[in-house]
């Protein structure tokens, strides 16, 4: 990390969805910053609120169904104070987003060229010819072998990996400072995954962008991320550099996740399984440690009544104090 200037600062952000007339928090009190030239990974099980955080930053929620509080400071502007018109100055221009499902994220009835060009229509003053050239250049940058041909095709004529490259091309067309990639490789097979991640890294080197990489694949995180935020049930439970998270994980949830990760050297071992599920929004507890029900053998006195983030070393914070007493049941932890 050469430049450590943070340009995105998420302060105490809460997003709640209206379900049957009542609002329920999907993410609570998120504090996070993103720097230039870094890849910040957000990991957590399905339903932890990772996508909600991404779409909150992008302002993609229907205001009639969603309540968002807090502050998202992007290069000096609080995004959450913007109206739709104001937001559109940022979306596509300074923030690009890559979605999980490349099959449905492109308009089936528009040519690839038009879909990439559209983002430039709103954020640049390029002539039609310049835009056309830029489209070809972008397609080349994301690793498409025959840009001219692809530009003329429709989404259904492309493979999943090709479509994801096109989506990346759209996201980076206006050289955004922030790229949010929500599970960009989940729908793709392993070799394509690696290629896509390489493309992202190359682009980052060129643009000095900050990348938020959302994934539940810890292997991807280990390979790419500079920093990692671990989310559980709408909260960040541990935040640190990739080395800190992988070498000295503290929070029971982080440790459980890491233990449930398949390792190449002990393939024969049974994988650790985190018992239970992420609670649904309506069932989310609002006091106490949200992860406590899934580690019932840990004494309740080990948990804080209102767990907060503790900075345990520079850049490494953990929620709750229960990590001090935590052992896996088969490694000395007693069952309750």
């Amino acid at each position: 990390m050469e430049s450590t200037s943070e340009f995105l600062n998420i302060k105490d952000v809460n997003t709640s969805f209206k379900i049957k007339g009542k609002y329920y928090d999907a993410i609570s009190h998120i504090n996070l910053e993103v720097h230039h030239d870094e890849i910040l990974a957000i990991v957590g099980e399905s339903g932890c609120g990772k996508s909600t955080l991404a779409t909150t930053i992008m302002g993609l929620h229907d205001p009639a169904e969603t309540k968002i509080t807090g502050e998202i400071d992007f290069e000096g502007t609080n995004l959450l104070s913007l109206d739709e018109k104001g937001y559109n100055q940022f979306r596509g221009a300074k923030i690009g987003m890559i979605f999980q499902d490349p099959l449905s994220a492109l308009n089936p009835l528009k040519r690839i060229e038009d879909q990439i060009q559209e983002v430039m229509d709103y954020h640049t003053n390029l002539t039609a010819e310049q835009k056309h050239d830029r489209v070809l250049e972008l397609l080349k940058d994301v690793g498409i072998v025959n840009p001219k041909r692809t530009a003329h095709q429709f989404p259904h004529e492309l493979s999943g990996g090709m479509r994801q490259r096109v989506i990346i091309a759209i996201a980076i067309a206006c050289k955004p400072d922030l790229i949010i990639a929500d599970e960009p490789t989940t729908a793709l097979d392993v070799t394509i995954q690696a290629q896509i991640l390489d493309v992202l890294r190359d682009i980052q080197k060129e643009n000095h962008a900050g990348i938020i990489l959302i994934t539940h694949d810890l292997g991807v995180v280990a390979e790419t991320a500079d920093r990692v935020a671990v989310m559980y049930a709408g909260q960040i439970v541990e935040l640190g550099s990739a080395e800190q998270i992988f070498n000295t994980p503290k929070h029971p949830y982080t440790r459980s996740l890491l233990r449930s990760m398949p390792q190449r050297d002990n393939e024969n071992d049974d994988l650790y399984v985190i018992k239970g599920n992420v609670p649904s929004l309506q069932k989310m507890p609002h006091t106490g440690d949200r992860f406590a029900p899934r580690i019932p053998w840990v004494k309740s006195s080990s948990h804080e009544t209102n767990p907060i983030m503790h900075e345990i070393e520079s850049g490494h914070s953990v929620r709750c104090t229960c990590y001090k007493d935590f052992e896996f049941p088969d490694q000395g932890g007693q069952r309750a």
Partner: protein, 319 residues
């Protein structure tokens, strides 16, 4: 695309042959004969027998069918027993009327349905949406002829705003007054037909737009910073309207079938009325010709829809 279209046309040929045989046999199978009662109620059976004979009505069916097909290709569909004039001339005169009414109804249908469907979907769940949905449910539940009868009764007889029979006023001067009078005569049946025809299109369009609104590609467009009104124009409406364009072909089919009711209720001298009359007079030649024409037009309507669809939707174009 040309391959798709060519293949569809080739499939149509056997369809048309089978259709023509069926049509011919069905007409034959109808009870009664075209002469009893039409010449003179007390006509001599021997005379009728003679008439049947010289008209070839005692030949085996395939012989009659073959004669009919050969004549067909010479543009000769025989004579109408009822009107004593060539079927070709008889039908072409009526077909123009039906065509006018059908075209007018189609245009009106789309003029009503497109804004309604788009507006309802854009404001999903709000009051105008509820009103439009109630309208479609109610119209859907009422049979078409009931709509026609109520319409003609209120606007034709009670209020007297529209003519209730015919296709043109006999007193209108040639030129513009005739055209105006024709238009005046198709106004009410056209509007009523359109009210009925909107239902399917409104419901289909509404659900298409609502699906599109929540689709991933619209979310992608939002993340590009495309303003909401352009998202509607370039993505949501465009994608939802294209399949509707393909409805045009099917709607011709629907209109032809509807014309049977409309023309009967409005005594409008088109093919539909001719058809109903010919059935009561057992005018075989006219019936067979009309059923054949209706059948072919139905096939053409479907073909047209398929072609439009293959033009507007790139996913179909390829296969």
């Amino acid at each position: 695309m040309w391959k798709t279209i060519l293949r569809r046309i080739l499939i149509m040929i056997p369809e048309i042959i089978i259709l023509s045989i069926l049509v011919f046999l069905l007409a034959k199978a109808m009870p009664g004969d075209p002469f009893t009662g039409s010449i003179n109620p007390k006509a001599d059976p021997a005379q009728i027998h003679h008439l049947m004979k010289i008209n070839g009505l005692y030949d085996p069916w395939y012989q009659q069918y073959w004669n009919w097909v050969v004549h067909l290709f010479h543009g000769n569909l025989g004579n109408s027993y009822q009107y004593q004039e060539p079927v070709t001339r008889l039908i072409s005169g009526r077909a123009v009327n039906t065509l006018w009414l059908a075209l007018f109804t189609t245009v009106l249908t789309y003029c009503f349905a497109l804004p309604m469907g788009m507006y309802a979907a854009k404001h999903e769940g709000k009051l105008p949406d509820s009103i439009i949905r109630i309208y479609t449910y109610v119209t859907y539940c009422i049979p078409f002829f009931v709509i026609l009868v109520i319409g003609i009764w209120i606007f034709g007889y009670v209020l007297g705003w529209f003519p209730t029979t015919g296709s043109v006023s006999s007193t209108a001067n040639p030129g513009f007054p005739t055209i105006a009078s024709r238009l005046y005569h198709i106004l009410l049946p056209g509007i009523l037909g359109a009210l009925f025809g909107t239902v399917n299109i409104v419901q289909y369009l509404r659900s298409e737009v609502i699906d599109a609104k929540g689709s991933d590609y619209v979310r992608t467009a939002r993340s590009k910073g495309v303003p909401e009104k352009d998202i509607y124009r370039h993505h949501i409406f465009r994608n939802s309207l294209l399949p509707i364009a393909a409805f045009a072909g099917y709607s011709i089919t629907g209109l032809l079938n509807g014309s049977l009711f409309t023309e009967t209720v409005f005594s409008y001298p088109g093919m539909g009325l001719l058809f109903i009359n010919s059935i009561s007079y057992r005018d075989y030649t006219v019936i067979t010709a009309l059923v054949l024409i209706y059948g072919i037009l139905n096939l053409l309507g479907t073909l047209l829809s398929d072609i439009i669809l293959s033009i507007v939707d790139p996913r179909i174009r390829i296969q």
